[in-house]
Amino acid sequence: MTTQKFTLNNILQDRVLSLSLTIAFLMLVLTLLFPTQFATWDNFSQVLLNLSIDTIVAVGMMILMIGGMFDLSVGSVVAFSGGMAGYLMYHHDVPVALAVLAGLSGATLVGLVNGWLIARIGINPMIQTLAMMGIVRGFALMLSGAGLQNFPWEFIVIGQSKLLQLQTPVWYMLFIVLGMNFLVQRTTFFRRYYFIGGNERAARLSGIQVERMKIWAFVISAVLAGIAGILLSSRLGAALSTSGRGLELRVITAVILGGASLAGGQGRILGAFLGALFMAIINNALIIGRVSGYWQKVILGVILILAVAMDQLLLRRVSRK
């Protein structure tokens, strides 16, 4: 499908390519600046580990945003699914597999309710998912109360094992990113989201079941958030009611950086990963560079703006020719 040439224009047009290059450039600079600190396997695997939860959620968000939707309740779902599984294991000695399943089912339910109310009843997505964010956070608080711990080994093993020197969440993330990227590129089911996000009315008239597809998108995104929640609480060895706080905005930023737009119809799954990676590397660099406290926020913001502005300006200059 993509037999285009690698002209500067094409690279800039394709967010995945341009972001990859930006990241490569950034990594090069950081390696030169902090050779002994940045470019180490330890540091790299740690960055990937920290990134994995956000990225898994970002994949779901990317699908939603391709379809012109978004979901603010994902952060709460992360806390909820972990809390649900933790609650069952801790208070009722439910077997690990069942507890995990219950956590994921809870997440699925949240996605279903969101999707149904938005697609069928027509509630404004922003209000619906914001309200749901509060509701689910409330339940997460009730479930995990003052924090749950002491989970069985079988649960801990999910997120704390290592394979080839990388902790399991990193592998889950890679699997989900590559798997979903493949599906979104190659199956008609997922391709439909591009059409829905591009022109909803035309999509309906082209025979796409817009409502049903929207519900699916919310479910998929919620399930991915649920998986992220299970991984997080397994990795932390605790179910915390504060998990995933502020995650939604962070993830939406990563996804937009990766090429999505609030208007819908644009973006690729790899973009979600790259967006999250970009933010993680900058955060890592700020700490390695000993930027402390107040200035971190400022510099992070400035770099974000610079990266996007540069892209825009280059794109404009090139396409003007």
Partner: protein, 321 residues
Amino acid sequence: ELPPRTQEGTGQATNTQEAFRTATTPSAEEEYVMVTTAINLPLYVNHDQAAFKAWGEKKGVKTTILGPAEWDVPTQIATLEQVIPSRPAGLLINGTDPGIAQAIRKAVAAGIPTVVYDSEIPNSNRHCFIGSDWYEMGYLQGKRMAQLLKGKGKVAVMGILGMENMEAGFRGFLDAIKPFPGIEYLGKYDDKANVETAARIAADLISAHPDLAGMAGFDSNSGPGMALAVKEANRIGRIKLTTVDAEPEHLKLVQAGVIDYLVGQKRELFTALGAQFLYDMRHGTLQLSANDAKAGVVPIPRTVITGSIEIDKTNYVQFIQ
């Protein structure tokens, strides 16, 4: 109508326009309201709120706990201001930020017995403050850190930036390590009272400074976050950790040898004793004059410093329930 020209209360002048309200007989309808923030913080739930509720049951009066679920001072203020018109028997206020002074003055002016706990609120006219000295908590951590490091190495601190009590703690820590020129202070970091953020910052710090020797935490999530990063980097024991609070998770980490030292607060004392002060004030348990309310005499202590609890390998067993 303009506000009074003099900034009321330099902390001393308590006798305001209205006398505080008293009642002779205790009743079951009597309501004592705790206004806090981050109402679901395990630390608060397990200690402050549990002690407060238990106290209420023992006394046979109503206890209510109000406040936002997140760390959100303006909402705490809004909650407090909306509780005042309903005239509870007493107000027990978590001293989260100097900005709530103005709302506390309103409560005092409305004649409601008012006790501030945890951190002092200057200029608030409160009838009594009961809590810990954060400077001391920081100082204790700094002293112990210097001991653990034998006077040399790189250290960093984390907590919620911009909060007066934490900033006092940071100051204490710095003062305590000042006599040791071998200790290099890397800076303070904002973990937003979030385990994941704390873990991320700690991990990035470890990558940035392979020779990092110690970290100190100032909110209850700093400890678990730092510990997670240290565990994942396989540096247990080599990086010294000190932090605040003695929750079960903190204790377990001491037991595992990940955390070396904890400074705990006597939180149950804040609230049980604080509530008792409110009760005493309202019912004139100890009369200092014929009519204390009219005379403008506050018949309870003005300031109570409860002191800190120090926990390490030698004594943690005593705190595990």
